[in-house]
């Protein structure tokens, strides 16, 4: 496929991503089976990259469930 055609096809799927002030969307599986990964990721985001990341104690089941569990419950 020509590169120009490829760009055209994917053009409508492009999206803008903010460069700061994030809401942290958690992953249940990541928390459960990689217990230290969230803390490490947030430390890099905040301490190294100096990004503003908001967490919520009220955040329940992860976004993955909206995708994966549609098979069984939604």
């Amino acid at each position: 496929m020509k590169l120009e055609g490829k760009r055209k096809i994917w053009n409508e799927y492009q999206k803008d991503i903010a460069d700061d002030k994030y809401f942290y969307v958690r992953s249940c599986i990541r928390q459960a089976v990689f217990p230290g990964s969230e803390n490490t990721y947030l430390r890099i985001m905040r301490d190294v990259l100096k990004k503003d990341v908001h967490e919520s104690a009220h955040h329940t089941t992860c976004t993955g469930i909206g995708y994966q569990d549609r098979k069984s419950v939604v």
Binding site: I29, A32, P35, G36, E38, T61, I65
Partner: protein, 237 residues
């Protein structure tokens, strides 16, 4: 047109998913599932286009509709703006509603998903909870995981987790008010009813197979569906 086709056609995902397939096979060419499974999204689009109830019934009873990972790569490439992944979603919903999901190995695994994910959501607010990741269910974690599980109280704070604590953080306790709200969402949206439907049809199938349906993971039927994998049948030929 038949009764099953009419039901499919009442699902907005089906209407969005099939506008007219020209059988070009582009979706199959890009499909990751087609790389490993005996699966072609092109065939799915072709079969539902027949509007033939006996063909649709066979799909609803088949392993085929459970191979798709719903990545939607097919949607990005279809020259006619079809989305076989959306057709699959509508077929899966109908397969559960009609109870035909229990007629295939992959379909029967819906009970495992329901008991391992959906029930956990209602109970804990998480779809997968650390306390449930026991080695017998997650052997891929390796023998070190047993040590992590046995020493969780000492280990988890050291890696920065807020295990069953208040406030934000990994593995925090979800406030009961939030779990109650989540349950309400499942009730209003029909999710709880759907979970009951999976249990009902699975119980009938377990009886037919001579297996105890039990509760949770303590069940002959659960063990059967969790471990059954006819690789020769499922693999790409």
């Amino acid at each position: 047109m038949g009764q099953l086709f009419d039901k499919l056609n009442s699902d907005v995902r089906f209407v969005e998913g099939i506008k007219g397939c020209i059988n070009c096979g582009t979706c199959t060419a890009i499909c990751p599932a087609a790389e490993v499974y005996d699966y072609q999204p092109r065939t799915i689009a072709h079969l539902v286009q027949t509007r033939d109830d006996s063909i649709i019934e066979n799909l609803l009873k088949s392993d085929t509709i459970w191979y798709c990972g719903e990545c939607m790569s097919c949607k990005t490439r279809c020259p006619r703006n079809n989305a076989p992944g959306l057709i699959i979603q509508a077929l899966r919903k109908l397969s559960i509603e009609t109870g035909l999901f229990v007629e295939s190995e992959k379909g029967r695994q819906q009970l495992a998903l329901k008991r391992m994910l959906s029930d956990t959501i209602i109970e804990t607010g998480y779809c997968v909870h650390f306390d449930h990741t026991t080695l017998d269910m997650f052997p891929e974690q390796g023998p070190m995981w047993q040590w992590v599980q046995d020493n969780r109280e000492a280990f988890l704070p050291k890696v920065g987790a807020n295990y069953k604590g208040e406030g934000p953080g990994a593995m925090r306790a979800i406030p009961q008010s939030d779990i109650d709200e989540l349950r309400n969402i499942f009730e209003v949206s029909g999710g709880l009813k759907w979970m009951e439907t999976i249990e009902e049809f699975s119980a009938k199938k377990a009886q037919e197979m001579g297996l105890d349906i039990g509760e949770g993971k303590a069940s002959e039927y659960f063990a059967n569906i969790y471990t059954s994998n006819n690789q020769a049948k499922h693999s790409r030929k």
